[in-house]
C-alpha cells in the first residue's frame, strides 16, 4: 500500500514537471479553435457564404461550447460525474432574463445590461452550486451522478411554479402560484412553466464568443494552477491526495462551484438569444447532451469537447435533407462516432497514421500512448 502511494505521489510530481509545455499546447489549440472559428464564421456571414440557418446557430454553438468546457471541469478535471448541468444553465438563464427586464428602463445600453445580467447569473449559479455542492461532494461516483440529476429536476420543477412580475413602480415581485398580487398578466416577466415570453434579445455572436473565451480562460488557468493540480491529484488518487494534506472537499467544491457559475453565464447568454424560454428546455436531455459533448470530445480534453459541441449542435440541422429519417441518421452518426473514437483498433490505426505523417521524433510517440493510457 505504502509503496503504491509513494509511486502515485512520485508520478504526480513527474507530471507536474511536464505540465508547462502540455498546458501551452492545450491553450494554443483551444484558443486557436475559438479564434479561427470566430474569424471564419464571421467572414462567412459577412460574405453571405453562410446562410440564415447556420448564422442563427452561432450563439447556441458558443453557448454549448462554453457548457462543454465548464462541464469538463467537473467530469474531466475533477473526475466526478454530474448530470445536472442544465439546472445551473436554467438558474443563469432565468436570472439573466429577470435582471435585463428590471434594468430595461434604467440602463439603455444593451451590452452593459447583458454584462450585468451575466455577472448576476454567475453569482446565482455559483450560489446554487455551493448549496448543492456542500452536502453532495462527500458522495462519490454513481451516487453523485444521481444526486446531481435530482438537482437538475428540482431546479426545473421550482421554475415550473415560480412567477415573476413587475408592478407599476417597476419593482420586482415574485410568487409560487398563478397570480401575483397587484400585477397585471401583461407585466409578468416569468410565468411558471410557460417561462418567459417577450424577451428583448441581447445576445450577439461576438458577445457569445467573448463569453466562450472567458470560460476557456478560467478553466485552462484553473487547470494549470496549484489548485488545479490539487484537484487532479485528488481525482487520480484521493487517498494519496489526503495523505499529503490536500483538503479534498475544498478542492472538489471549488471545481464544482466554478463549473456551475460558468454554466450559469452560458445559460444567461442562451436565454438572451430567444424571445421565449421555457423551463422544459432545461430537462435531463439537455444535461445528457452536454455530457455527450464532453464524452465524445474525450473526457478531460478541453478542445475535443469544444469541437464535439460545435459539430453536434450543427449536425441535426445539416441532416435536414434526410427529412423523416433525420433524427434516426443523427443517432446512427452519433453511435458510429462514439464507436469510432473509442474502439482501440481504430484508435491504434489513427495513431499509427498520425505517427507516420508526423515529422520523425522518437519520444513523441511514447508520450502519446502514455497519455492515452491515462
Amino acid at each position: 500500500m505504502a509503496d503504491r502511494l509513494f509511486k502515485s505521489i512520485n508520478a504526480r510530481g513527474l507530471r507536474g514537471a511536464v505540465k508547462g509545455s502540455e498546458y501551452k499546447k492545450e491553450a494554443l489549440i483551444s484558443y486557436g479553435i475559438l479564434v479561427i472559428g470566430y474569424i471564419l464564421l464571421q467572414l462567412g456571414a459577412m460574405t453571405g457564404l453562410i446562410g440564415h440557418n447556420l448564422q442563427g446557430q452561432f450563439v447556441p454553438i458558443c453557448v454549448y461550447i462554453s457548457l462543454a468546457i465548464s462541464l469538463n471541469l467537473v467530469v474531466g478535471i475533477s473526475g466526478e460525474l454530474s448530470l445536472g448541468h442544465a439546472g445551473f444553465m436554467a438558474v443563469g438563464a432565468f436570472t439573466g432574463i429577470v435582471i435585463t427586464r428590471v434594468l430595461e428602463n434604467s440602463i439603455e445600453f444593451g451590452p452593459l445590461r447583458l454584462i450585468i445580467a451575466i455577472l448576476a447569473a454567475a453569482v446565482m449559479a455559483a450560489i446554487a452550486g455551493f448549496i448543492i455542492g456542500i452536502p453532495i461532494l462527500g458522495l462519490r461516483g454513481d451516487y453523485l451522478a444521481i444526486v446531481t440529476l435530482a438537482f437538475g429536476e428540482i431546479v426545473r420543477n421550482i421554475m415550473n411554479v415560480l412567477y415573476f412580475g413587475l408592478d407599476n413602480n417597476g419593482h420586482l415581485k415574485f410568487a409560487f402560484n398563478h397570480t401575483i398580487e397587484g400585477i397585471d398578466t401583461s407585466q409578468r416577466v416569468i410565468t411558471g412553466a410557460i417561462g418567459a415570453t417577450g424577451v428583448t434579445k441581447l445576445a450577439t455572436f461576438t458577445g457569445a464568443a467573448i463569453l466562450t473565451a472567458f470560460t476557456l480562460f478560467v478553466v485552462l488557468n484553473l487547470k494549470n494552477s496549484k489548485q488545479g493540480r490539487a484537484i487532479m491529484a485528488i481525482r487520480d488518487n484521493r487517498i494519496a491526495g489526503e495523505s499529503i494534506g490536500l483538503d479534498v472537499k475544498k478542492y472538489k467544491l471549488m471545481a464544482f462551484v466554478v463549473s456551475a457559475s460558468l454554466a450559469g453565464m452560458a445559460g444567461c447568454m442562451f436565454g438572451q438569444n430567444y424571445s421565449t424560454l421555457a423551463p422544459v428546455k432545461f430537462n435531463f436531455n439537455t444535461s445528457v447532451l452536454i455530457l455527450v459533448f464532453v464524452v465524445l470530445g474525450g473526457i478531460g480534453n478541453i478542445w475535443g469537447g469544444m469541437i464535439a459541441a460545435a459539430l453536434l449542435t450543427v449536425l441535426p440541422e445539416a441532416l435536414r435533407q434526410f427529412a423523416d429519417y433525420r433524427m434516426l441518421t443523427y443517432a446512427v452518426v452519433l453511435i458510429l462516432v462514439m464507436i469510432g473514437t473509442y474502439n482501440p483498433a481504430i484508435r491504434a490505426r489513427i495513431t499509427a497514421f498520425v505517427n507516420k505523417i508526423k515529422p520523425k521524433k522518437k519520444d513523441k510517440g511514447k508520450e502519446k500512448t502514455g497519455k492515452e493510457a491515462a
Binding site: 486557436g32 446562410g51 398578466t185 430567444y274 424571445s275 435536414r320
Partner: protein, 393 residues
C-alpha cells in the same frame, strides 16, 4: 511549435467539415431560388413532424400540400405555389433553426408554425426579417402580440375559453364543472384563464381545478380522484389529445365516467394509436371543422385527403388548407409578382389582411376576417363524438 502541426490539421479538418455542411445547405438554397424563376410563390411551413405533437405537424403538412397541388393544377399558367415544411419537434430553439433554413431556401411567406411556444419564438425572428406569417394553429395570444406581420387562422386561446364557457353555461347548466389543465403550456393556461373568468362571471364556481405539466403527463390518478371527490360530472380539458387519452383511460379504470369537454387540441384523439376510441364516446369538443359535415366543399376535401394520404383529415389539416388559399387569394390582391422580396410581400399582405374588405372563405368557416391584432373573426362550432365520428351539435 513544429510538433503541434498535426493537431492543427485535425482542427482545420473539423472546421472544414462544418463549412462543408453549410455548403450543402447553401446548395439546396440555390436550387430553391432557381425554381423561383418560373413564376412560383415559395411557401414555407414549420411544425412538429416528429415527437409528441407530430400528428398536428403532419396534418398541417398534408393539408397545405393538398391545397398547393389543387391551386397549381387548377391554374397551370398562373401563379404556382411551392410548399416546403421543416420539422421543429415542438421546440422553440429548433423551430428558429427550421425557420432560418427555410429563409435560406428562398421562402417568401410562412404558413406556420404549428404549435404556440415555437411560434412565439419564430414570430420574433419573422418580425425582424419582415416575413409574412399566417399560422394555421398557433393560438396563443403571445404569437400575435406586438407583431404586425403575424396572423392567426385559428381562434386565439382566450376566444376558445370564452366560447367553451358560454356553451357549457347555456347547455349544461346543471352539471358540476371541473378543469384539468397543463400549467406548463401557454395554450392550456391561456384557455383556462379565460374559461375560468367567463364561467365564474355570474356567480358560478368551478368545483375542482387540477394542473399537470409536460413532464408528468402519464399518471392522472391524483387529479381524477380530486375531480371525483368534488362530485364533478363535466371535466373541461383545455389540453392536447395525448394526455387527454390518458385521463380517459385512467378514469375508466377507476369506474369514473364524467362528460369531457375539449377544445381544438382534443382533435386527433380518434386517430391515436393504442387508444380505445370507445372511451371517447360522448366527448364534446369545440372545433371549427368536422370531416363528417354535409358541406360539399368539406366532403370534396375529405375525399381528396383520404385518397392521397389514407387517413381522415383532422382540423389542423383543414386549417392549413384554408391558410394556403387565404395566402394565395391575398397575394393575388397585392398585385405583386412572384419575384418580389419577402419583405415587400409582407408589407403588401399586411395591407390586404387589415384592409377591412378582405374575407377568406374555406372549410373552417364561410367567412373569415382579420383585425389589426392578427386575430381571426369566425363562428365557433361544437361537435360530439358519436360512433367514432364527430357530429355537429
Amino acid at each position: 511549435m513544429k510538433k503541434n502541426w498535426t493537431k492543427f490539421l485535425v482542427v482545420a479538418l473539423s472546421v472544414m467539415m462544418v463549412f462543408a455542411m453549410t455548403a450543402c445547405g447553401g446548395g439546396s438554397g440555390d436550387s430553391g431560388s432557381s425554381e423561383g424563376g418560373d413564376n412560383a410563390l415559395h411557401l414555407g411551413g414549420v411544425g412538429p413532424l416528429t415527437g409528441p405533437a407530430a400528428l398536428y405537424g403532419n396534418a398541417v403538412n398534408n393539408g397545405a400540400q393538398l391545397a398547393v397541388d389543387e391551386i397549381n393544377a387548377a391554374n397551370p399558367d398562373g401563379v404556382q405555389l411551392v410548399w416546403d415544411m421543416q420539422d421543429d419537434e415542438h421546440d422553440a430553439e429548433k423551430s428558429v433553426n427550421a425557420y432560418n433554413k427555410l429563409v435560406d431556401d428562398g421562402m417568401q411567406v410562412l404558413v406556420g408554425t404549428v404549435t404556440t411556444a415555437p411560434c412565439t419564438a419564430v414570430a420574433a425572428e419573422a418580425f425582424e426579417d419582415r416575413m409574412f406569417v399566417l399560422t394555421p394553429s398557433a393560438s396563443g395570444p403571445a404569437v400575435t402580440e406586438g407583431n404586425d406581420n403575424v396572423f392567426q387562422l385559428c381562434f386565439s386561446d382566450p376566444n376558445q375559453g370564452i366560447a367553451s364557457a358560454d356553451y357549457i353555461k347555456a347547455n349544461y347548466a346543471d352539471k358540476t364543472v371541473g378543469v384539468i389543465y397543463n400549467n406548463a403550456d401557454n395554450y392550456s393556461t391561456g384557455i383556462y384563464d379565460k374559461f375560468k373568468s367567463e364561467y365564474e362571471a355570474d356567480g358560478k364556481k368551478l368545483a375542482a381545478v387540477e394542473a399537470f405539466s409536460d413532464d408528468a403527463n402519464a399518471d392522472f390518478t391524483a387529479q381524477l380522484n380530486s375531480m371525483k371527490n368534488a362530485g364533478v360530472d363535466l371535466i373541461f380539458l383545455p389540453i392536447y389529445y395525448t394526455p387527454a387519452s390518458n385521463i380517459m383511460t385512467q378514469a375508466n379504470k377507476m369506474g369514473y365516467a364524467p362528460t369531457y369537454f375539449g377544445v381544438d387540441g382534443m382533435d386527433g384523439i380518434l386517430d391515436l394509436e393504442g387508444f380505445d376510441t370507445s372511451l371517447a364516446e360522448g366527448v364534446l369538443l369545440l372545433t371549427p371543422f368536422t370531416p363528417y359535415s354535409d358541406d360539399a366543399k368539406v366532403q370534396d376535401f375529405v375525399k381528396a385527403y383520404e385518397d392521397k394520404f389514407g387517413e381522415t383529415p383532422i382540423q389542423f389539416a383543414a386549417d392549413a388548407y384554408d391558410c394556403v388559399y387565404a395566402v394565395y387569394d391575398a397575394f393575388g390582391k397585392t398585385g405583386l409578382g412572384t419575384d418580389a422580396s419577402s419583405a415587400d410581400i409582407c408589407e403588401a399582405m399586411i395591407k390586404v389582411f387589415t384592409g377591412g374588405d378582405f374575407t377568406a372563405s374555406g372549410l373552417t368557416a364561410e367567412t373569415m376576417k382579420w383585425n389589426a391584432e392578427g386575430e381571426v373573426d369566425k363562428t365557433p362550432k361544437v361537435c360530439v363524438i358519436q360512433d367514432g365520428k364527430y357530429v355537429e351539435q
